[in-house]
């Protein structure tokens, strides 16, 4: 029975990962640690795992790997501790809010000879995999441009505190699409221009809309909207979409558009029930297999770093009003 621990439930994705672990045979959520005791205790109880208040004690358990789902700015400290204890690590995205922290995370894991993965479930989405196949097959010829979105609802809490998040919607919702595009095209980002601001949640200290214009190797032009622009009344959490313009046609992908429209008088607002494959489950499966086989997870720490480099350049651009070189 492979044993996995979760470090911090600050990020709501931790709940999804815990639920995925519960679905997998021969896998156990062995323990929960959280620097917020009340939050950790509650989450542990909810997922039927013991809560361990002391981090040293938690890392001394016989777990093979840990999932780090803390606030962005706290990833580094936790990953370093986990790696030093010989644990395989799956780190929530963004890997860290700045490049130096990302590099420190990667080098700590390399030094400790443990596997490191970045949680980019979009790579495990069946529609994304299918579109990658179309692009790779050459059926559509050369790729010219894409217009993408990663919209979401306002998460509030620490996401809106710059010290903990490192930034707003541009930080939160650029990396998934940046990573997916790198993976789908096999190209790197070269330059970025970004216009962002606090457009919707006036009393917030971070940006809630980011409009990015990126360039990739080979002159591919990319527009991306990273936002928290979906209201509370929206029927789902948000979206990941791309319109990809190629030499021989156009591919449109709305990654989570496998939905059932649900109307329920108790909740009043309309809701979309998602019925497609669960990318989080595939992500966790890959991590567990990586722990088991002592290999690196499919999406590496370097992939996490590359996506953060795009985000960091985007913030530099938004601040300076100029196009910025990535990396």
């Amino acid at each position: 029975m492979a044993k996995i621990g979760i470090m911090s439930f600050a990020h709501m994705h931790a709940h999804s990962y815990a639920a995925c672990l519960a679905q997998l045979p021969d896998i156990e959520l062995a323990a929960v640690w959280d620097d917020n005791r009340a939050r950790g205790k509650e989450a542990a109880a909810q997922h039927g795992a013991p809560f361990v208040a002391d981090m040293k004690e938690f890392l001394a358990l016989d777990t093979g790997g840990v999932i780090v789902t803390s606030e962005n700015a706290r990833h580094r400290k936790m990953v370093e501790a986990a790696a030093a204890a010989g644990k395989w690590v799956l780190c929530e995205k963004p890997l860290a809010p700045d490049v130096a922290d990302c590099k420190a995370i990667i080098s700590a894991c390399r030094k400790a000879k443990v596997g490191l993965g970045t949680a980019f479930p979009v790579r495990f989405s069946e529609p994304v995999k299918a579109v990658r196949g179309m692009l790779m097959s050459g059926e559509y010829g050369e790729m010219y441009a894409a217009s993408c979105t990663n919209n979401g609802q306002f998460p509030g809490g620490w996401f809106a505190e710059p010290k903990l998040s490192g930034g707003g919607a541009t930080m939160d919702h650029t990396v998934h699409v940046a990573d997916a595009l790198r993976w789908m095209t096999g190209r790197e980002f070269t330059r970025v221009y970004c216009e962002n601001g606090t457009c919707l949640h006036g009393d917030t200290a971070v940006d809630d809309v980011g409009s990015l214009h990126l360039e990739m190797e080979g002159g591919i032009l990319i527009s991306h909207t990273a936002s928290w622009n979906r209201p509370k009344s929206y029927p789902t959490w948000g979206d990941v979409t791309m319109e990809i313009v190629c030499e021989k046609g156009v591919i449109r992908i709305d990654v989570f558009n496998q939905k059932i429209r649900v109307y329920n008088d108790d909740s009043v607002k309309a809701e979309w029930a998602y019925w497609g494959g669960n990318p989080d489950l595939a992500l966790i499966q890959d991590f567990v297999a990586a722990v088991d086989m002592r290999r690196d997870p499919a999406v590496s720490g370097t992939d996490g770093l590359k996506a953060v480099e795009v985000t960091v350049a985007a913030y530099k651009s938004a601040k300076s009003g100029r196009k910025i070189k990535v990396g």
């Binding site: 962002n196 032009l221 527009s223 622009n229 156009v250």
Partner: protein
Amino acid sequence: MNVAVIGCGTMGHLHAATASECGLKIVACGDKYKHNAKVLAEKYGAVASDDSMAVIADPEIDIVVICSPTPTHSGYAIAAAEAGKHIFCEKPFARTVQQCKETMRAARKAKVKLFVAHVVRYFHEYEGMRAQILAGKVGKPGFVKMYRGGLFPLGTDEWFRDYEQSGGVTLDSMVHDIDWLRYTFGNAERVYCQALRRSDPEFVDYSMATFKLKNGVIAKIIGSWAAPGGFHTEVEVCGDKGMLEFNSLETPISTMKRRAPGEQPGTIVPDSPVPKSPYRLEWEDFLAWLYNTRLPRVTPHDATAAVKMALAALDSAETGRPIRL
């Protein structure tokens, strides 16, 4: 009132039909190619000519409708003004801001009415969205996304394919969304744009622009002349209390023709009938102005501002720099 149509392509035919529905008489058609002028003129028993300047000068004409390629608009419009004719000009108003200004000056001097056909302001769905926004349904707007996409247009002599003439999708198509954006949310402070403008190996244009408005709204406008299939538009407006979404592919009617065995399957053709076409509404608005009953929804100043914004986007795409407006 007697109408002359200059430029007898798709829009020339459409405006001739609409003006005729409004009770106006189509008396002359001018086109660089006499054949094109003839095809349209025959429908209305009008005179066809390949000398558009002579058509404009004809004292019988009251209104000149300009549907020729963009760079020729101002020449015809100024001639029309000088001949004392009212002007109904297809968008974009002109190829340069200078041409817009010269045309406005000529119209003002001649005391003729000059209307630029920004028809999106008359689309029921766009008016509906604007009404929702003005009614506060999304709260204070903070983000706008507009999409307009279809085939690369053909046009006589394939003039759209000459980006120097047409300005590509950014000037010719996105100018619709740019105008509606400004009409609904106000003026822009700056723009950044990426445009494909490919002519080799494929004629495709795809343009992606971010406008930062003076009131803080961030607007993304995507224009596509890269779609191999049908035309469609999308709008999304997000505010601090809600959002609205529109997609023109959601229609009350969609049809699909049965094909003979072995033939390629037909495409689904959406249809959304309305009591009055937006073209009819813009003509009625223009005519109400001519009859001195009210000012139209679009002024030449608006049309100039839209050209200015679209050209700034093209300038940004060219230089890779944001352009201050």
